[in-house]
C-alpha cells in the first residue's frame, strides 16, 4: 500500500483550527525556518482510509492467538481504555496544585500499595516507563544502597545465561560489570558456578522466576542464601510474574528489588511496542533511594514527598500515568481471587498446550511448565531442514501470531509459547491441531515451508538488504 506521503496533494487540508483573532508576534527572521516542511497534505477521507488500511495490516490480541512468549499478550479489557480516557484523567496538567489532583494521586497511591502487596515489597515507585527502564531504576537503587553503606567495592552484577538481553544492558547503564553464570541441567542457575562467582564485589544477582524457560527456579531459597550471605542483593525481573501472582510473592522468595511490567501482567495494551510501564518495588531498606517524587497519604489527603537519598528522577513528571489508570481498573476488577485465578489459568493453558504438542515439539521433560514453555526444533531441523523460523512463518499463513523465536539463547532452534489465561480452550484446540499438521508438513513438503509465508501481507523480507543499505525515511 502507499505511504501517506504518496497520497499527499498540495493544498489538501484535514483538521483545521479557529482563525487567529490576533496577530501580534513578530519573531526575528533569523530564528525562522528556511526549509519548507514536507508533511503530508491529505483530506479527511484520505486520512481515515489510510489509517484504517494500516490497522488492517496490523495484528493484535483482538485479531487472534498471540502466544508471544515472555511478552504476556493477554486480553486488554475495553473498560480500561474507557476509564483511561475520562476527561478527569486526560485533561489534567501534571503541575496542577496537589489539592486539584487528589484523584490522580489516589490512583498512584492505591496502585502502588496493591503492587506492593502482590510482590511482597514494602515500597513501590511507578515512575519507570517500561520493563528495561524499571531494571535500570532497580539497579540504581541497589547501587545507592551499597554506596550508603560505604560498601564501594560491589561493582558486579551476576546474570544467568538465560536472562533477557535487557538485564545485562541495564546493569551496564547503571554502571555495573556483568558476570554471566551458566544454567544447570534442569535449566536453573548452576549453584556451584554461582558460589564460585559471588564475593564481596557482588552487588546483585538478577533473576527471572519463573525463568525464561518457563520453569520455576526450585533452588530459589538456596540462591537467596548464597547471595545474601555474600552481602549482595537479589533482583527480580518481573517479566514472568503472570505465572505466580497471588500464588507466591517475590518478597517471600527472598528478593529485595523487583520490577513489573504493567503492559504484560496487568493487562495494559502493548500499543505496537509501547507505552509500557515498569514499576519498581523494594524492601524497606532501599525505600529511601526510590525516585522522586513519591505519593504519601496523610490526614489532609495525598502529598508528593521527596527523599534526600533518592536516586533522582528517571523520567519526566510521574511516568506513564495513563497506564496506571488501566492497571488499577484491572486489579480492582479482579480482586484478590481474580489475580490468583489469572495466574492459575495462565499456567493451565500453557500446560494444556504443552502436553498436546510435546511429542512433536520437544521441551523440558518431566515437569510442569509455568505460564510458558520453550520447545527446541533442532531435531526437526536435522531431519527435514525446516527451522524454528519456518514453523513460525507457517503459523502466519494459518492466521496465528508466532511464538517468540530464538530465545532464550541457550536453547537451539527455540520457540517460546505463552498462550496466557485469556485464551479459550477452543482456540487452544485449534492451535494444537494446526501445530501438529505443520509438523507433518515439514516432512511432506519442507521446501514449501522454507519459503513461507505464502498468504501473508508480504513474502519474507530481505533483512540483509535493509541492514546493509538502510532506508529509514521517506524521500521524494
Amino acid at each position: 500500500m502507499k505511504l501517506i506521503f504518496e497520497i499527499s496533494e498540495e493544498g489538501k487540508r484535514c483538521a483545521t483550527i479557529r482563525k487567529p483573532q490576533i496577530k501580534s508576534a513578530k519573531l526575528n527572521e533569523k530564528y525562522l525556518r528556511k526549509t519548507e516542511l514536507d508533511l503530508p497534505e491529505v483530506s479527511e477521507v484520505d486520512f481515515s482510509r489510510h489509517y484504517t488500511a494500516l490497522s488492517r495490516r496490523a495484528f493484535g490480541v483482538d485479531n487472534g492467538f498471540y502466544p508471544l512468549g515472555s511478552c504476556t499478550m493477554k486480553y486488554n479489557p475495553k473498560i480500561n481504555e474507557e476509564v483511561a480516557g475520562l476527561e478527569g484523567f486526560t485533561r489534567i496538567h501534571p503541575l496542577q496544585s496537589e489539592k486539584t489532583v487528589q484523584g490522580c494521586m489516589e490512583v498512584m497511591h492505591t496502585l502502588s500499595s496493591y503492587l506492593a502487596e502482590i510482590t511482597g515489597m514494602d515500597a513501590v515507585t511507578l515512575q519507570p516507563n517500561a520493563g528495561a527502564h524499571g531494571e535500570y531504576t532497580g539497579l540504581c537503587l541497589i547501587a545507592a544502597y551499597h554506596a550508603a553503606r560505604k560498601d564501594f567495592k560491589r561493582t558486579k552484577v551476576i546474570v544467568p545465561d538465560s536472562a533477557h538481553g535487557t538485564n545485562p544492558a541495564s546493569a551496564v547503564m547503571a554502571g555495573f560489570e556483568i558476570i554471566n553464570v551458566p544454567s544447570d541441567e534442569e535449566k536453573g542457575v548452576d549453584l556451584e558456578a554461582l558460589k564460585k562467582v559471588v564475593g564481596d564485589d557482588t552487588a546483585a544477582l538478577m533473576l527471572t522466576n519463573p525463568t525464561t524457560l518457563g520453569l520455576f527456579e526450585k533452588n530459589i531459597k538456596e540462591i537467596s542464601k548464597i547471595i545474601h550471605k555474600a552481602g549482595g542483593l537479589l533482583y527480580y525481573d518481573g517479566a514472568n510474574l503472570n505465572a505466580v501472582m497471588g500464588v507466591v510473592r517475590p518478597g517471600d522468595m527472598g528478593f529485595d528489588v523487583v520490577h513489573l511490567n504493567l503492559h504484560k501482567t496487568f493487562s495494559t495494551p502493548h500499543g505496537g511496542g509501547g507505552p509500557g510501564s515498569g514499576p519498581v518495588g523494594c524492601k524497606k531498606e532501599l525505600a529511601a533511594f526510590l525516585p522522586d517524587p513519591r505519593v504519601e497519604k496523610t490526614d489532609k489527603g495525598y502529598k508528593f514527598v521527596e527523599s534526600k537519598q533518592s536516586i533522582g528522577k528517571v523520567a519526566s513528571f510521574y511516568g506513564n500515568f495513563g497506564v496506571y489508570v488501566r492497571a488499577l481498573a484491572y486489579i480492582v476488577a479482579l480482586g484478590a481471587e481474580g489475580i490468583k485465578a489469572a495466574a492459575q489459568h495462565a499456567v493451565l493453558n500453557a500446560n494444556y498446550l504443552k502436553v498436546n504438542i510435546e511429542d512433536l515439539y520437544p521441551t523440558e521433560k518431566g515437569r510442569h511448565c509455568m505460564h510458558e514453555f520453550v520447545v527446541s526444533m533442532q531435531e526437526l531441523k536435522d531431519k527435514t531442514g525446516v527451522s524454528a523460523m519456518e514453523i513460525a512463518k507457517t503459523m502466519i499463513d494459518r492466521g496465528y501470531h508466532p511464538p517468540t523465536m530464538y530465545f532464550p539463547l541457550i536453547i537451539h532452534e527455540a520457540l517460546m509459547f505463552e498462550p496466557t489465561e485469556t485464551e479459550t480452550k477452543q482456540t487452544l484446540d485449534e492451535v494444537i491441531k494446526a501445530l501438529r499438521e505443520i509438523y507433518e508438513e515439514a516432512f511432506k513438503d519442507p521446501e514449501y515451508m522454507k519459503s513461507a509465508p505464502h498468504h501473508a501481507q508480504i513474502g519474507r523480507p530481505d533483512e540483509v538488504k535493509a541492514a546493509r543499505t538502510p532506508v529509514v525515511r521517506y524521500q521524494k
Partner: protein
C-alpha cells in the same frame, strides 16, 4: 609473508613488522551475510586475545579478537559501506593492519587450522 589463524577464526598475514587481519572463510560462512563491520580505531593499542572489533549480521554480533599484540595503523575503510566484501572473499577483505609488537605462539598455520575446523 605468512598467514596464521586463531582458534576464534581470525587470520593474520604477517609481513615483517606489519600484519593484516581478517576473518576466515569458515567464519564468514558461519556468520552468514554480514551487514556491518565496526572497524577498530586507528591508533588503538591491542593485545593478542583481546577484543579488536565486532561484525554484525542481521540477528547477531560477533567479537573479533586480536591475533597479535600491537597498534592498529590502518583500517580497511572500503568495508564500511560494503561488508559483503568479506562474504565474497574473506581472505582478501582485510579488516585492519597492525604494527606488530609480539606474536603469540598459539596461532595455527593453514594446515593446522583446516584440521581444527574439521574438529
Amino acid at each position: 609473508m605468512k598467514v596464521l589463524y586463531r582458534e576464534s577464526h581470525e587470520w593474520v598475514a604477517i609481513d615483517g613488522k606489519k600484519a593484516k587481519v581478517g576473518i576466515s572463510d569458515h567464519a564468514q560462512k558461519e556468520l552468514g551475510d554480514l551487514v556491518f563491520i565496526n572497524l577498530p580505531e586507528v591508533g588503538a593499542e591491542v593485545k593478542a586475545g583481546e577484543t579488536l572489533c565486532d561484525v554484525e549480521s542481521v540477528k547477531a554480533v560477533s567479537d573479533l579478537y586480536a591475533p597479535v599484540t600491537g597498534k592498529v595503523v590502518a583500517v580497511n575503510e572500503e568495508l564500511e559501506g560494503a561488508p559483503e566484501l568479506i562474504n565474497q572473499d574473506a581472505m582478501k577483505a582485510w579488516i585492519c593492519e597492525i604494527e606488530v609488537e609480539s606474536v603469540p605462539d598459539d596461532l595455527m598455520d593453514e594446515e593446522a587450522y583446516k584440521k581444527f575446523i574439521k574438529g
